[in-house]
């Protein structure tokens, strides 16, 4: 793919998005943004930048497609099984001591991560006293999360991940398969609070004992990462846990000195101050 949309044109698009829709992508990592924008440009067979720009500015349905395509929504259940094993073995036993558990999944995409967490809570006997806040910038992925229906072709991988994460139940007891889809048990979804939330512009809205924000910060530049981490810090109880993606780190952020990473080096930090 030869890049058709050039850097200065991307600046123009990002400016438009702010003016027309109030979405600010200017502090996203540029290389990935540029690739996604160009991918969409060729996928939708635009013949000129002018037409592309016009379409995004004037057609709000297309704008939603644009957001969905340039933000990456790829996700999995029990992605990085050892991460979930650590949640099971080291985080949930601590959360169990609370009368009431609040967890925030920021940038949860279509919700595979949230359903995975609900399964862990269920198995630990904690689901009844938990609430899982599932937020994302993109309303369309949240619609899919609410349905709790995921493609059946991924279930084999998910059930292997589940077992590696220390799961002992029969994974198929959590969903009913129908045609090409697996519909997850509604008792899992019953504890989810779903809402749009933009990490660039929205504020802290509650206090949590555990915040997960996985594979979202890699798309942000360092300033925006710091800003998001600040927001998580404001939203986390003392002695609460902050969990990031496998390749994300808080070590360059100002909040770092208040946190201690778990000993096994999974990307989970505990707020100690």
């Amino acid at each position: 793919m030869e890049f058709e949309v050039q850097d200065h044109e991307i600046d123009i698009l990002l400016q438009d998005l702010m003016e027309s829709y109030g979405y600010d992508f200017t502090d996203y990592s540029r290389a990935s943004l540029k690739r996604r924008i160009n991918r969409l440009y060729s996928l939708d067979k635009f013949s000129s930048f002018v037409l592309f720009r016009q379409r995004i500015k004037t057609d709000s349905t297309y704008f939603r497609r644009f957001v969905e395509e340039i933000t990456v929504n790829v996700t999995e259940m029990f992605r990085d099984p050892l991460f979930y094993k650590t949640i099971r073995e080291e985080v949930l036993p601590v959360l169990a001591t609370h009368p009431f558990i609040r967890i925030w999944h920021a940038g949860c995409s279509t919700g595979e991560e949230v359903y995975s967490m609900a399964i862990l809570l269920h198995e630990a006997g904690l689901l009844k006293k938990s609430l899982l806040y599932a937020t994302d910038i993109n309303p369309d992925v949240l619609d899919r999360l609410r349905k709790g229906i995921f493609p059946l072709r991924f279930i084999k991988q998910y059930s292997e991940n589940y077992i590696q994460s220390g799961g002992k139940q029969d994974f198929s007891s959590y969903y009913t398969a129908k045609y090409d889809w697996a519909k997850f048990d509604e008792k899992l979804a019953a504890k989810m609070v779903v809402a749009t939330h933009n990490l660039v512009s929205d504020r802290s809205f509650n206090e949590f004992q555990l915040i997960l924000c996985r594979n979202v910060l890699i798309y942000f530049d360092r300033n925006l990462q710091d800003k998001a981490l600040q927001l998580f810090d404001e939203s986390l109880d003392t002695l609460g846990f902050l969990a990031l993606g496998a390749k994300e780190n808080i070590k360059y952020s100002p909040i770092y000195r208040k946190y201690k990473q778990l000993d096994n080096k999974e990307r989970i930090w505990r707020k100690i101050a």
Binding site: M1, F3, A31, V72, R222, K247, E248
Partner: protein, 198 residues
């Protein structure tokens, strides 16, 4: 850099490989001149979390510092970076790394094409792209980009590759500067830098 050198000084060597490339990499890297002033990025298709193994293997065999590429790391000369598994690796204009978990490309994440294209965008003629043994065509498009932007392309001779599909596609589809048997790759790379310094 000398004004009379034919090629612009190479700052980045991007190596891509898939099935059958590990041995080649483990022989090539230690044979490189330990004082080459370029950075090396290695993108291979591997099982999840085996990047640590590759980092360790190369660290044991080479005098160069070897590490996994981390997001926001600035690329430093004379350092070897290994692309982490399960993420695409891109390069920003300021020469720092970005990671991306989007869809696989050519059934692969990391995709060699994505890193090669990104390297070509940012480093232009200062990239040397190398494609080794492998069973799919990931990397071929990337070499085309490197070529278009004035970089140099080197491919392992398909007849000496464990799995010849990937290098053969490259040779058939892109105007490759040099096709060499595995054991001559390192010597050729070293010689490129000799002429640069003249």
């Amino acid at each position: 850099m000398a004004e009379n050198s034919i090629t612009q000084a190479i700052q980045l060597i991007a190596i891509g490989g898939s099935a059958g490339s590990l041995d080649v990499i483990l022989k090539l890297v230690p044979a490189l001149n330990p004082r080459l002033p370029a950075a090396i990025i290695i993108i291979t298709h591997r099982k999840a979390s085996s990047e640590e193994i590759l980092v360790d293997l190369l660290n044991a065999k080479s005098t160069w510092p070897v590490r996994e590429a981390e997001e926001k790391d600035t690329i430093a000369p004379h350092t070897i970076y290994i692309a982490p598994t399960d993420y695409h690796l891109l390069i920003e204009q300021d020469h720092s790394f970005s990671l991306d978990v989007s869809e696989k490309v050519n059934y692969s994440r990391p995709s060699i094409d994505i890193t090669f294209e990104s390297a070509a965008e940012v480093y232009g003629p200062a990239v040397l792209g190398i494609l080794l043994s492998g069973a799919n065509a990931d990397g071929v498009e990337g070499l085309r980009h490197i070529k278009t932007r004035g970089g140099l392309c080197l491919v392992q001779d398909p007849d000496t590759a464990d799995v010849d599909y990937m290098p053969r596609q490259a040779v058939q589809q892109v105007k490759i500067d040099k096709v060499l048997p595995a054991d001559q790759l390192a010597g050729y790379i070293n010689s490129l830098f000799d002429t640069q310094q003249k």
